[in-house]
Structure formats: C-alpha cells, structure tokens
Symmetry: C2
C-alpha cells in the first residue's frame, strides 16, 4: 500500500486527530485504473456533498486526483481510499476555528471480489441490528461506522456475501457495505437515505444511468414486502460493482437481462 498524508508519504496520523477521537470526517473507497479513478464525477460529487453537510473543507480536486495517481504508481488496477478529517483538535467537541484538515489518500493493489459473485449472484441474510434514524448524518459516508461493524459481525459464514439492514421502523435501507436496488415492472427502486444509510457513488451512478437503459428509477421507503415482490434485486458499491441477489433464506430471485445490461453499461463506464 502507498499512502500520502497531506501529500507526504506517511502511514501515521496524530493520535489527537478528530477523525480518531470522534470519527469527525468522511471517506470514499474507489477503483483506480491506470492511476485514474473510475466514476470520478459521482465520487467527487458525493465527497463534496458530504463535506458540505459536516462543514469540512473540501480539498482541491486536482490535488486529490494527483495524489491518487501518485499513490497508485506502478499499479495498473488499484483500490484507493480518500479520508478527510477535521484534523488535530484540542479537547472538546466544538469544531476548532483554526482546524487544519487531515487528508489521507492511499492505494493498494486491486484484489477485488470473485468475478462469479457478479456473474452468478450472491446470497444475503437479514441483519438483526436495526439502523438508528439520524437525518443529520443520513447518507453521509462519515467515519462513524460502528453500526456497520456490529452488523457485519453478525455472521461469519463465507457463503453469505452480504447482510441487509433495516432501520428501526422496519424499512429497508442498504447492505452493510453496499446499496440496494429492487427491480419490478421496469422500475428500479432504492431506499430513500434521508434518515439512515450511506449514499454510495455507484448508487448515484445507477440512478443517473439506468433511465438510458429503459429503467425508471425511484427513491422510496421500501419494505420487506417490496423485497419479496421484487422481480430482481441487486447490491452495488464501487468495489463490488453490481451484485445480483439470488437468495435470501428460501426466497430466490433470477438475474434478468436488465441487470446484465446495467452491469455491462457499468463495465464500459469511465
């Protein structure tokens, strides 16, 4: 792994960084091909929105792109991560007026996930943990991820590839590391993320690109009944791409042509 901290090759941060003390920061995980991030427009837009919502300064876009390229030197395909924190702080929750943000850009050789998961589909479970509702943090890919950690700790069976999360009111939200889409009647529906969940860059890409394939899109409150009624289901994130869901307990779903077409569109995207 190669890592730049505020542009300097390093692998350590101050133990007084508010990213550690309070999870006071945001991040993105992305794919690099030839040192260039895939789906950058969607990644950057999500990062900018998340920074704005937490009043975190957004770094210069060209600087971040240059650091991604530098971290990925020698790697034809890489997994990259961008972490932005509010920097080193004095004691106390108040945002320091003079805080200098910390910017961590890293890249590792691509390991990815087995290709057959995208081709043949995945098996999921329903997590016991229910996501709390917090509109002020909903959708943001921030560093407060204990709910995801606890949810992911519910299973270790390697034949279960992801866990579905409901919120405290029983609505579907997402997977522990992915966003969720349901296909029915030529329409793709995905949970509204205005009260919980993480709005991933690939989710945004799907919402923007599915209509060109003849699929209407909709963000809505979705229930387990909607899941059961779906003709097809998929999960997505920037590393896994699109994973058709083929099994949850006894319920199975097919992988219709529309999902193959969407995945092909994604594979062809820059």
């Amino acid at each position: 792994m190669a890592m730049l901290i505020d542009g300097v090759p390093d692998e350590q941060v101050s133990a007084l960084d508010r990213g550690l003390a309070y999870g006071d920061g945001v991040y993105r995980t992305l794919q690099l091909v030839g040192g260039r991030p895939r789906l950058w427009r969607w990644q950057w837009q999500r990062l900018a929105e998340d920074c704005a919502r937490l009043a975190l300064p957004l770094p210069d876009e060209r600087l971040v792109l240059a650091e991604l390229a530098q971290a990925a030197v020698g790697l034809e395909r890489a997994v990259a991560k961008i972490v932005l924190t509010r920097g080193v702080g004095r004691r106390g929750y108040a945002m320091p007026a003079d805080a200098v943000p910390t910017r961590i850009v890293s890249a590792s050789p691509w390991t990815g996930y087995p290709a057959e998961l995208a081709e043949q589909g995945v098996t999921v479970r329903r997590c016991e943990l229910r996501l709390g509702l917090q509109p002020r943090l909903a959708g943001i890919k921030h560093l407060n991820r204990l709910e995801n950690v606890l949810a992911r700790s519910e299973w270790s069976d390697p034949t279960i590839h992801e866990g579905l999360l409901l919120d405290s009111e029983g609505y579907l939200v997402e997977g522990t590391m992915s966003n969720l889409f349901l296909l029915r009647g030529g329409e793709l529906a995905t949970p509204l993320l205005d009260r919980s969940g993480v709005a991933g860059a690939l989710r945004a890409w799907v919402l923007d690109n599915a209509p060109a394939l003849g699929l209407a899109v909709r963000e809505a409150r979705l229930t387990l009944a909607d899941l059961d009624a779906a003709e097809a289901v998929f999960l997505c994130n920037s590393l896994i791409g699109i994973w058709p869901v083929v099994r949850l307990g006894e319920r199975t779903w097919p992988i219709p042509h529309a999902l193959r077409a969407l995945a092909a569109q994604l594979a062809a995207a820059a």
Copy 2:
C-alpha cells in the same frame, strides 16, 4: 501532553487503525491527582462494560493504571484520556480475528473549567439536533461522536455553557458533554440511557452515592415538562464535576443545599 501508545511514548497511530476508519473503539476522560485517577472504580467499570458490549478486549487494569501514572509524571493534577480501539484492520467492517487492539493513554496539565461555574451555576441552551435511537450503542462512550460534534457546533456564545440534547422522540437525554440530573421532591432523576446517550462515570458515581445523602435516585424517560417541574438541575462529567444549571432561556433554577452537599461529597471522594 505525554502520551503512551501501547505502552510506548509516541503521539501517532497507524492511519489504518479501525479507530480512525470506523470509530471502532471506546474512550474515557478522567482526572488524575498525583498520577492516580479519581473515581477509578466507576471509570474502570464503565470502560469494562463498554468493551464487553463492543467485543473489544479489555487491557489489564494494573497496566492501564501504571501507564496513567507514567503519562502524568510531574503533573500534580492532570486530565487524562484512555482510548482503546480494535487496532489496525484490513479493509472491510468485519472484526479481524487477529486484530491487535490499540491502547492510547495520555495526560495533560489540568486546565479545568472556571470554579465559578460549579459555584454559581451554568446557563444552558436546548440543541436543535435530536439524538437518534440506537440501543446497541446507547450508553457506550464510543468513538462515533458526530452527533455530539454537530450539537456542540450549534452555538459559540461563551455565556452558554452547555447544550441539552433530546432524542428523536423528544425525551431528554444529556448535555453534549455531560449527563443530566433533575431534583424534585428529594429524588434525583436522570435519563435512561438505553436508546441513546453516553453513560458517564460521574453519572454512575452520583447514582451510587446520592442515596447516602438522603436523595433517592431513578433512571427514567424524562421530558421537558419534567425539566420545567424540577426544583433543581445539574450536569456532571468527570472533568467539570457537578454544574448546577441555573438558567435555560427564561427559566431559572436555584442551587439548593442538596446540590452543594453532593458536590462536597464528590470533592471528598478519592
């Protein structure tokens, strides 16, 4: 400030630490006098409970005490912080089976808060942010503190000393950095922290010690109506001690003898 990371003088942690990546850890802030922590029994019990709830290994108690003393060498009175994280992790939320926890122990010269706040009482405001409900994390002093950061950012007026937080259902929970008690009819009531909030060590001390002063104690769902009906109100944490609340908007409260007696008891505690 003096800091020990896993027992070694240092001030940096790996940028891959799960404490930074996910807020996957817990902490305590405490007072040291002559290198010894005040109210240690309550601090340690809370730390042990928090670790158990997050499946974090608890370090050896004597080791932590020795590190606190070492960090505070030369400081008659100090503010100390203990941070325990799940350590450096591979990518992904799953708890690594082979994770080596990170232990950060630090001490700084005591700066404290102006003594007149404890003597004359404080003015508080009501925060706009409502705490989300998450029973799996409620009460734990974990590193996911963005709600507190956002709540504390709501005001900068230095004559406002603390903000009161309600949960999404409108129940009283705590201050942004303190626990809340209401006195009425010889009884101290404090919000139940089974759905949100941080259960501080001083809160636990008050619950254990108030009865000896003739004050019954009760954990309950409390409302703004209960606050309005209270004969006295106070906030507490391990650094501020006990802060009588004397004003919220137009509402004022006195500082009855019972609160002075509790503060005197605290001052005399080891």
